[in-house]
Symmetry: C2
Subunit: 485 residues, 2 copies
């Protein structure tokens, strides 16, 4: 029975009758087994139409407060009388039975969250400048996606929008030399989801995984929450020291950042690349190549990804977080053939697929060339930020600091020769009080070894005009701290 012909006034009257009767039942005015007036009698009494009362009764029936037997008056059900007040003690006093996964997640160090106070000079890595975002181009691409003609709106393929995967295939070839089938590309909600899916598909509780030391914290967190047993392989100025890899047998996967080790900035040389691939082949082990900032290499040309050498062993992960914005939550994976189906299935169980309009918007930006022209612009802008930052640091600190990882990416690591590693957090707090955000590197080590304090400085979100000032302020804080010591 369609009720769409009812006026809002009739609905209001039904609602009032329903609420009034419900209250009378729950408060005990009507007890279990009591009879309510017939719908005709109540309609006459209230001066409303019979359908108005019937609608209220139907609602009470559907919620189980009353029941009607053929031809009889409605009676209050025996099990009725729910109370909508909190009827159980607040769970604050109850310990929830969490899964092993959630218990491990709760034990992780709390990750820097977005709700921290705004700082005047924030060298937080991972953020990008709002002014760099191509608002008009993105709006145009998104509008086209929203207004595009469609037969129907339904769940998309879990691997992602086909147009996006096709344009990405070309982009990956042009930008990174990757030759792959469209079927090997899976769109994800940011590279974080790619890492999480890798853990789901390849790692069991207790499984062994190789991580870099130091390591991207959110990659380690994924593995620790999964219950993996992490093996930290030290990194030097050339990235992971592959001579220290364990026996690959029984190792589920290795997580590496070969283009620009995070955070130290080393570029994995060809010998180590070869060793890593051979190691993975020997162990039937997979390698996650997180190419998180592969677009930002300022000299000559980007290095061919590890994927090129060992595509049957390597899961390539890319993202638009550093070229467009981390808030978009768009990333992509290039998978070995045999892993495509397991990843697609797990992606579908996880969240069906990533947001369609944003996928189509990115496809359209790549298609029109707007994306690559934006990437070039960003490379220039960030090269400028980097140059200003390095010059300001050299002027302010001279040889009191050592700066590493300067050839690529959107951050560097600065070692302070005269601050002890144990003072890292204190110095970061002290800088924070001056409105400067710097981020201790020890947090990224399973077991820190350096005697000096080190900090990650991201510059991609800093207005060019503030970088020098931020460094100068930091230098003042540094000098007064040294005087105090």
């Amino acid at each position: 029975m369609v009720q769409s012909g009812k006026t809002s006034r009739e609905i209001g009257a039904s609602r009032r009758i329903y609420l009034s009767l419900r209250d009378q039942i729950t408060s005990g005015v009507y007890a279990a087994g009591d009879r309510l007036p017939s719908s005709r009698a109540l309609a006459d009494e209230l001066g409303v139409s019979r359908t108005t009362v019937t609608a209220a009764y139907d609602q009470l029936i559907s919620e189980g407060y009353i029941q009607v037997r053929q031809g009889a008056k409605p009676t209050v059900t025996a099990d009725g009388r729910p109370s909508y007040a909190r009827s159980v003690p607040p769970t604050r006093e109850i310990t929830p039975q969490l899964s092993a996964y959630a218990s491990r997640a709760m034990a992780l160090p709390k990750h820097i969250s977005a709700d921290q106070a705004m700082l005047q000079y924030d060298f937080r890595y991972g953020d990008v400048a709002s002014s760099d975002f191509p608002k008009l181009a993105w709006r145009r691409a998104l509008n086209a996606a929203v207004l595009a003609h469609r037969e129907r709106l339904g769940y998309e393929h879990p691997a992602g929008n086909l147009a996006l995967r096709q344009t990405l295939q070309g982009y990956l070839w042009r930008a990174r030399g990757i030759e792959c089938d469209v079927a090997q590309i899976v769109i994800v909600s940011g590279s974080q989801q790619a890492l999480d899916l890798c853990a789901r598909v390849l790692v069991d509780d207790g499984g062994r995984v190789v991580l870099e030391e130091p390591c991207y914290a959110m990659a380690r967190n994924v593995m620790l929450a999964t219950g993996a047993d992490p093996i930290a392989i030290p990194c030097d100025k050339d990235g992971m020291d592959t001579s220290r890899l364990p026996d690959p047998k029984g190792v589920a996967l290795a997580f590496v950042t070969p283009s620009h080790q995070f955070p130290l900035g080393g570029v994995l040389p060809s010998g180590r690349r070869k060793a890593l691939i051979e190691w993975a082949v020997a162990g039937n082990t997979y390698i996650i190549e997180d190419d998180y900032d592969g677009e930002y290499r300022y000299d000559v040309r980007p290095i061919p990804p590890l994927w090129m050498t060992g595509q049957d062993r390597v899961i390539y992960v890319g993202t638009v977080s550093k070229t467009l914005s981390p808030t978009l939550r768009l990333g992509y994976m290039v998978l070995p053939d045999t892993l495509v189906e397991p990843f697609v299935r797990c992606k579908q169980i996880t969240d069906r697929h990533s947001a369609s309009f944003e996928q189509e918007g990115l496809a359209s930006m790549i298609e029109t060339g707007a994306y690559e022209s934006h990437v070039r612009k960003m490379r220039r802008l960030n090269a400028e930020r980097r140059a200003i930052f390095l010059k300001a640091m050299a002027d302010a600190f001279g040889d009191e600091v050592e700066i590493v990882g300067t050839s690529a990416g959107l951050h560097v690591v600065v070692w302070f020769n005269r601050i002890a590693a144990s003072d890292e957090e204190r110095f970061a707090d002290c800088a924070r009080q001056e409105g400067i955000g710097i981020y201790p590197i020890s947090r990224l080590f399973a077991a820190p070894t350096d005697q000096r304090a080190g900090f990650i400085f991201g510059y991609a979100s800093m207005p060019v005009t503030l970088i020098g000032k931020g460094v100068d302020h930091l230098a003042s804080a540094y000098r007064s701290r040294l005087r105090l010591d």
Copy 2:
């Protein structure tokens, strides 16, 4: 060193030198230990600047092909010579070592995917009509989000955008009578992610979970992939038969659709609601209340959610998939206090947070009232679709079918009295060949019991003008099939 001052011509020359030398190294023209010319000598020879050669050499060094010792000529490294061709056999011949999770996911029946052929009359449940989507309002809301002033673009709080959570708090109160704190609301990428997070946070491999019988397939899939031991509780016309619940001790959670059982359409009466909550309290068990189509109730008013009765035990899950579009991937959870932190942490590990612009767009639509006015319009439109569908079915099939679940939602279940349950898939195939999509209900049962064939008919994506025609075509297919039997 900043290279931004280099001209593209110089970069081109560097690139050519780099490629040429790289080829000579990998092809063996230069062997390990061989010396390359000094940068000055090579620059003279090629008639380019020395920095052009240096840039090419730097690239070769960073990739590990050559090394330079102080003052000496560059030499080819011992471990150089990578080959960028596929150097290992394709993994097609290798069986990947999948996790237990992925192995279970692979064993699930393949879920209907989006890449099926387009049908003329598709009663697929879950889709919505593209023409119903409020393109202009959504575009306006999204544009405002993209153009809004921001200091920087960084990761948001994993629980979601604060403005959205605040407007949702009001919406949930107005539309569903839910009174909760903003802190209890977590934004997710569609209700699928909510179900997946529930499994992550609360269910271990081997954990017991209560499911409805029949059950929403993607909810069961989440639990099966997690390794849970599902307990199927039969549903009748009033939803789950709570008298058949098992001992709650050791049961991690129960998944229910109390407003409109999926797919049978029953509304859980108050007595069963009370029993379910008491059961959960007794076992320290959580209940997922999937309110997937709570906005679509055509008589009187929506039923208060289960959450109202037992908010300390109930995880409320809502979505905009049925009011706006399933392609947006936006949903929300209202959590018991003690579960907020575990869910927020697991959400962060999973994908950091859901896409920001879409969250802000929804916030703005709710804020301006555009969302609720759209929901009202959709309720009218779908009531009309439902009425047309039911009338067409009555005209075409009379008492040869039984239709259930008509009081709410965007679908009904139709039992065909003269088709055997064992013929369901065959009849669906036969309809499909006539361009009609109908979806067998047996797929949603752990163990089907009905003797008759049943199908889910979704009507929300059908143009009003096609519904009657679709039913007529189905009736022809049905008659000719009966003749054949």
